[in-house]
């Protein structure tokens, strides 16, 4: 009797059901936890993602289990067993609710002033989206379907919420690897970008000092989100979700009349949604979905996406530098790959290495925030083609 109880208990532990795939995934999760905690690579996202990864790969934990229904005698489905807690939270990702909410907070945190002061930086934000489409073609060549290739390409947007939004709509089975690749590379922007930027520019170009930006009036700052939403959403209705929420958050900020909700949007709300988004996205990386050759291809293509985006932005910056007669420092072009504000900081650091009295940060913020708008629009294009 007593032995029976012990035997029953032992067979209910996870150790019995543990496979080598689970162990590998637990190892990967711990590695990402290490990167988040010790190396502090995007810890606000990488930590919840990697812990979600850990939770979902513990056998019999059932956190991501689907609810079980059975058809009753009345012919209607009845709930037999509840799903796991992360399954329910994941619906926010699956139904496309969390990414727009994150964008609301991002909008509230973003100052579009540098962009309004220098509208040409929008072109740099567009050029850097080239990485998305190059990678898309690369993924097509490797045999991914159109939907999958579009989701992989969007990694080059260097924008986590956009990548998750598009992938959850087009290729939800790839969500885990794509989110992990997108956030890992965003954390690695200071490593990936500088060699490319240096290879493509001359020392003289890197030393160009830019004129101080003009001050921006309040009315311009208030009109910007409103007009951008109307124009952008009319042009590309499928981008309305992301673009609209981004601009709403920004209007909270610039209008100056809704201080309370502005504070909530940029603090509590975005933090809460980030926790849910991170943990549940991490929880999609179950061993059977993640340990595939596809994942390695996605990680490699993601790297390509970032590199091409950076190069395209820098090259376009060079062209604009020539056309403007040397008034624009091409280093700000690489900031066009969103990854706010890391990419702008990289432009600043690389520029300052050549010329310690050069301050490119505010100039690079223009293309940087333009990149967010650009990748939301690129996502809208892909969604309207493949959705």
């Amino acid at each position: 009797m007593f032995l029976n109880v012990i035997e029953n208990f032992l067979s209910s532990t996870g150790f019995v059901a543990l496979t080598w795939q689970h162990l590998v995934m637990l190892g990967i999760a711990c590695f990402f936890l290490y990167l988040a905690i010790v190396k502090q690579y995007e810890p606000l996202l990488l930590l919840p993602i990697s812990f979600g990864m850990l939770l979902t790969n513990i056998p019999l934990g059932g956190l991501m289990d689907y609810p079980v229904y059975e058809i009753g005698t009345d012919g209607l489905p009845h709930l037999k067993q509840l799903g796991g807690v992360l399954y329910y939270l994941y619906q926010g990702v699956k139904l496309g609710i969390f990414p727009p909410l994150i964008f609301l907070g991002v909008g509230a945190m973003t100052d579009f002033g540098p962009l309004i002061a220098n509208p040409r930086s929008l072109l740099l934000g567009a050029a850097a989206q080239f990485g998305i489409f190059t990678t898309f073609i690369g993924a097509v060549a490797l045999g991914f379907t159109g939907q999958e290739a579009a989701s992989i390409g969007i990694i080059g947007g260097a924008d986590g919420p956009t990548a998750i939004f598009l992938t959850s709509k087009l290729a939800p089975h790839l969500l885990g690897p794509i989110a992990v690749a997108a956030y890992s590379y965003m954390a690695l922007v200071p490593v990936i970008q500088p060699p490319i930027m240096k290879a493509l520019t001359t020392k003289e170009e890197r030393m160009i000092k830019m004129e101080q930006l003009r001050p921006v009036t309040k009315i311009e700052k208030i009109l910007f989100p409103i007009i951008t939403t109307i124009l952008g959403a009319l042009l590309l209705p499928s981008a309305t979700g992301l673009l609209g929420m981004l601009m709403l958050g920004n209007l909270f900020r610039e209008s100056g009349v809704v201080d309370r909700i502005f504070k909530t949007a940029q603090n509590e709300l975005i933090n809460i949604v980030t926790i849910f988004l991170g943990v549940t996205v991490g929880a999609t990386t179950s061993a059977d979905k993640f340990l595939k050759a596809q994942t390695i291809m996605i990680i490699a293509l993601g790297m390509l996406a970032f590199a091409v985006g950076t190069a395209a932005g820098t090259i376009f910056g060079k062209i604009m530098s020539k056309l403007s007669g040397g008034k624009i420092n091409p280093l700000i072009g690489s900031a066009g790959v969103s990854a706010v504000p890391m990419a702008a900081r990289v432009s600043q650091v690389v520029g300052q290495k050549e010329n310690p009295s050069n301050f490119l940060l505010m100039h690079a913020m223009g293309p940087n925030v333009a990149g967010v708008i650009g990748s939301a629009i690129a996502a809208g294009v892909l969604l309207s083609i493949f959705g």
Partner: protein, 116 residues
């Protein structure tokens, strides 16, 4: 628009379409921003560059951070003149001797301390 799998040619079409829509959208936005600037932004009157020679009382300074000190004094002068540091040129900084008698200084220190 496309089937399950797409060919490289179709991929190129998507790329061309995607990049052009992105560019068009952002160019339209940047033109709109130009319009906003024309409508609502008035160039502020450029203050003429003025050369100010002003004696500034200065604290004891270490030799090695003189540059920093000059920057601080320049910023302070600019702030007190309510202009930007771009509009002034610092040519010379002279130390002004403190003429307050010792008793006066002691009184001032006492006053200040009593407020904390």
């Amino acid at each position: 628009m496309f089937g399950e799998t797409i060919s490289l040619g179709e991929g190129l079409i998507v790329t061309a379409l995607g990049m052009s829509v992105t560019f068009v959208a952002l160019i339209v936005l940047s033109l709109m921003l130009d319009l906003l600037r024309i409508l609502f932004y008035k160039e502020p009157q450029k203050a003429p560059v003025q050369i100010v020679q002003q004696p500034v009382a200065e604290a004891e300074a270490e030799e090695d951070n003189m540059e920093e000190l000059v920057a601080v004094i320049t910023a302070a002068v600019a702030a007190s003149l309510q202009t930007s540091t771009h509009n002034i040129i610092v040519q010379n900084i002279l130390r002004v001797g403190d003429t307050t008698p010792t008793w006066g200084r002691a009184g001032r220190v006492e006053q200040m301390n009593s407020r904390f």
